[in-house]
């Protein structure tokens, strides 16, 4: 996958993209309430992708989760999926969905990190470091050094580390689960009015994630 420039084409929009956040019974799935609005704004701002103006929250214990082939999951607290959530999540991944999990703690030994990675490994498979030249990092904006750092990493919060890689479970050369412990949940959870004060839009990487999910 590579970026390219070509003449503009006036295409008819397909169904609009809907940003979906996964609800789960354990933990705090709604710890970043402003995140979805900021990402929707970013997608609409930089691309011509049709995007629904409102995000949705969908329960992982419901088959309705399968209506959203890209799901965002975050939290601070320990994650233990129920049996039904596990079944839906496995079906979701088997059918081609992409689950993006972000540790809201930015803490390598945090409860969320330990339990979430255990649950992913148990239900889906082991996570592996995603190479920093992966197509994800050039799906729209180009991130030469891999995943963009967050202000929390640079401020030395949490585990005081700059995590160089994201982690992923891949099947058939497609990312099925993307795991971040860079705390994008905090980075993207700003008040919408504050975006104009940011020198570099920190949500640009979300555009790459969505474009990757829609085209791979």
């Amino acid at each position: 996958m590579s970026g390219a420039v070509s003449s503009a084409v006036n295409f008819h929009a397909t169904s609009p993209f809907v940003f979906a956040t996964a609800q789960y019974e354990s933990g705090d799935w709604d710890s970043a309430p402003s995140l979805s609005g900021n990402i929707i704004d970013t997608v609409a701002r930089y691309t011509s992708l049709p995007v629904a103006p409102q995000g949705v929250s969908v329960s992982l214990s419901s088959e309705d989760a399968l209506r959203y082939p890209l799901l965002f999951l975050t939290g601070h607290l320990p994650v233990r999926f129920t049996q039904q959530e596990g079944r839906v999540l496995q079906r979701y991944i088997e059918r081609g969905g992409l689950l993006f999990v972000d540790d809201h703690n930015h803490d390598i030994d945090g409860a969320f990190h330990k339990t979430a990675t255990e649950e992913i490994t148990r239900l889906i498979g082991p996570l592996s470091p995603l190479p920093n030249d992966h197509a994800l990092y050039s799906a729209f904006f180009r991130f030469e050094d891999g995943p963009p750092t967050t202000s929390h990493e640079l401020n030395g919060w949490g585990d005081n580390l700059v995590h160089e890689h994201l982690f992923a479970v891949q099947r058939d050369n497609r990312i099925r689960v993307l795991y971040s412990n860079k705390d994008y949940s905090s980075e993207w959870n700003f008040h919408p009015d504050n975006k104009r004060f940011l020198g570099v839009d920190p949500t640009r990487f979300a555009v790459n994630l969505i474009v990757y999910a829609l085209t791979h």
Binding site: M1, S2, G3, A4, V5, S6, S7, A8, V9, F11, H12, A13, T14, S15, F17, Y46, T47, S48, L49, P50, E63, L66, R67, P69, Y92, E94, R95, G96, G97, A139, F140, D172, R174, V211, A213, L214, T215, H216
Partner: protein
Amino acid sequence: MRSPTDTAAADAARVVAEWTARSVAIIALLLAWWSTSRPLPWHSPGHAGSRDGVMTVHDSSGTIDVRAIGDAASNPATRAMHAHLREPPDAERRALLHAALLSGLPVSWRADSATLPAVALAVSALADPTGGTIVRTVAQSGTPLSLSDSVGWLDSATAVRGGVQWNVSGPARAFQVSGARSAATAHPRLGRVRLFAAPGWEARFAMQALEEAGWTVDADFMIAPRVSITAGAPASLDTSRYSAVIAIDSTAWPSGNAIARFVREGGGLVMFGSAASGGALAPMRAGSSASVSPGIPGALRTAMPREGLALRPVTSLATDVVVLERSERPGSPIAMVARRVGLGRVVQVGWEQTWEWRMLGGDDAVESHRDWWRALLQRTAYAPVASGDSLTDRWQPLPGDAAPAADLVARLGPAQAPAELPTTSGPLTPPSPWWFVIAAGALLAEWWSRRLRGAR
């Protein structure tokens, strides 16, 4: 010295003996003449029998004895040949019977239709990257059919609506169905698939399904004005690179002329309703696209999962269109049609957002969605077979092994009873020389007796 009385008695006895000798000679000559009016007797070598010069060969032990055909045909006493069959004879036996007919010998055949199924077989390689063969069998409805290859039995089925179709995985090879035999063409050379679609879940899952089916997909997604993302390595459309184009929406319109040229040259086109509704693709469409009707709630997880998808029915069909699928909804709207354009084939699909089938369908949704996309490409893809790669026989005027019953009819004519032959025709039994020896001996004895008694 014998008395005159004795001499007269002896002469009377001799006269009786002479009449007896004459009678024996006449009877011998009559028997010789009678024997020549009988047909030549024939000794069968086994599965054959003769009656009035009609040699009947039969396959009571499973197949006709080749020697029986040869012996019957070469026997001068054979005036006609009749084959009684339980199974379609193989090519060698059909050729022997045909040769006997061509030599001037009347040849007929008969079989119980229940045991001699009229089966015709067509085998061709699928336009699929993973290989596979499609075996189409035509037979009378209700005929039990069994499919086998050189290794053994593969499947069995009963013919319904005039036939059975099997899709068999694996390399191209020869198949046999109830006596009919045919080989697939060598696997065709396939190119890539060019996808025209706006970025979205339909394009993304179409790519995934096709790639899982073995196709290489090239696409070009417009993400923003003047910015596009490429998948694969899109190149100019021609049949040396691509086997098929998939046009999901109006993003294909700017390339309409190139797509039309590609199809006329033999390429395949799968066109969805949004793509067919206007632009440069309109001349190739099979019909108009009506307004969208929503899917039937809950149907995605039933045995008719596509009914759960939104449908843009195809209406106002062109005259050369073949309807491939109708929806079960009221009015049976047309969901999929096909037509030829130039050397290529176009399939127009009315179903919308098929990705929902894969994500929300039943337990087999991933496989069935993938197989549906695979079948779309099998129907349309440009799949040339290089010359000289054909595994099938060159064209011949007779049906051959692909339809042995039809081949038998083409060679010998329809089934009929053994020929009723006139009794005077055909070779007759030559008279036995012993009849002439007996007649000559009797006449010589009669002559000798008359001479001894002084009579003339």
